[in-house]
Amino acid sequence: MSSEQQQAVDAPPLTEEIAPGTASDPPVGGDAPATVTVDGIEVSVEAGATLIDAVEAIEPAESVPALCHYGREEIGPRSECRTCMVETDEHGVVPACSFPAEDGMTVRTDATDAAQARDVNLDLVLSDHNLRCTTCGKNGRCELQDAAIDAEVEEPRYGVLDDRDEYEPIDDSSSFIQIDRNKCILCNRCVEACNDVQVEGVLRMEGSGQDTRIGFQSDAETMEDSTCVSCGHCATVCPTGSLVEKGIEDATTIPLPGFTQTNSVGKTHENTGKTKGPMTPKKRTEDSSDERSLTDGGDRSAGTKTETETSHADGDDWGDASERGGEWP
């Protein structure tokens, strides 16, 4: 990792080469220590705090899931899930996880608009999540599951991701970490753990719209072909069953004969058995997509499809001049 830098003194620091695909967010904390009132309770927070620090310091009137919030190791705030919206007298409805705590602010978690926003956004997260909890290794220790239970979700407004044709294959190609993107809520914690904490530069956010996904900076298609050093930090920070350590991927599933996570999804990238040299961060192989295997995950072979969507072109067709709308209906 340091050999490149030693060769060329003028080389930029390694972090400059890391391309996580995410925006350069500004620092978001408050400038000074602040006292804010949350649901009628005065809370003092330190400089650099956001409103979520004040909300978490008390027992708020209503559940604030703040799903993508991590609040440790300088990971986040990503502020993408918007299940932390709260009402403030000063700025209206704001995301608690990324809004600076300013002295004198008044915050309510039970205001109608904020509660509705958290509620709908949680359902929107669920709408794009494979909710087969009984075949998931994170069953019982999943932040999304906890949030849904706390929020007393019985039937999500927009359903859940249960169309097998829409499932992405499970990436079971690494010996150490499994990726199931059908459970990913795009909280970006893994990308930050990989790039900002471990400085490995393996994972990135890629694509846009519904094609947004966690991918690899080396353009590899599978974990096995990526430059992953298997440190496991991504699996540690993952709030759901999207990134789990191998060996415990079935740890908390409910035994149902013949029904497993693998065949519930139906498509899997398996390990190729190929031996690899030691991983070098940012190593790129030109033919990284050639060797991947795609196998049927079980007896429900109808779900097997060849994955073709590897590029996530940004829709050049939609130039402004045309002023066209999307395909309809």
Partner: protein
Amino acid sequence: MVTLDGQTGFHTGCSLERIEAIVRAFEETGDVTAADPDAVVDHGPGQTTFPTPELSGLRTGVREILDGCGWRRPTDPADHEAVGGFVDPDPDAVIDLGGTLDGRGWRDLCHDAPLADTWESVRSAAGDPVVVVNAHGNAADTLLLESAPFEALDGAVALADAVGAERVIVYASADDERAVQTVRDAAANYPDSPITVDVETGPAEYRAAEPSMAIESLEGNHRLEARIRPPDLDAVGLHGRPTLVHTPRTLAHLSVALREGEPAGTRVMTVTGDVADPVTVEVPASETLETVVDAAEMTGAFKAASVGGRFGGVTDDLTVGVKPDALAANDLGSEGVVRVLADDRCLVEFVGQRAQFAADENCGRCVPCREGTTQLAGLLRDVYDGGYDPEAIEELIDVMTTSSICAFGVQAGRPTRTALSAFESEFEAHADGRCPAGSCLEPLEA
């Protein structure tokens, strides 16, 4: 347009052959009226402003901001100087004028807000400020760069000087090649100034115009997504510097106000959609949408207008004023683009396409926009199957509006929200299996 010695002949809708004929006739006779122009205007020699003829599209409104378009040579600084341009104003005078001007368009950091406070905060902030001219994706802004780039540049340089910025960056879509080339040439010809003017391009995608994504693009990020705010770009922008992002329209208003001593008080608006040719006109802010729409020749009977750009509000009421507060009171947008829809257009189809466009083109960062636009398109498709649920649609749009990170998601539900209130019966008819415009149910059943 053929002009000589204070007389100009106007020819409209010319083919290449027709232009050749006009040039030939002029060369043979030396008479600007030789080729039978559609209009002739007599004016003094040395005319510095556009001699407006009585022709459709050109006679509407006034010409303060668009004055140079089509008349002054775009990249010749002498023409801009001849109308009093390149004033070297006192920084305080610039900031003071900012109190009388507002930001034009949603791609402007100060959309519909007075400029002076933001300018003042950037001037007093630590760090080297930057001025970004965001010309991405609006027809009037592209027109200004193509036809009167010095109006935008003059305003930008005066502003940079006033806030202590050493650099102006013009940002435009890579697809607007002519605008990019023209403003590059104009920047190269700009009179000596301590301020550097660079021209950069970003991808043509709609979202690349959003101010924080414009900054991401200028920083060279290979993938564009919105930044969280606050703090906004005026505090932490391009490479962490205090950054102003203004549209060419905003800066042209500043440029004109600097040489005239007062703001023009006009709105530059583009009419597009079911029209023979899209037109960009400038009208006094006291005018209504009707005046603007009348500037273009519609290709069918008027049914509705989508006011405020791609995610504008849909209305059939053109008596609404063009001022931002009047538009906002009617849930219409102030982007300066009015798309007219003829009576064979189906509104359910129209807003469905807008929702699908939003679902396809969003950056993918925040849940209310990424997942919300997808669900919105789904709820609108459900209308065709009899599953019309206006409360569910309104609830979803409310949440997209209150909790999306950037203007893309905040605005994405507006076409549907406004159509639901102005054209409710069309939605109900679709739920009953009938398209009143007869345009979208037939193909579905086939």
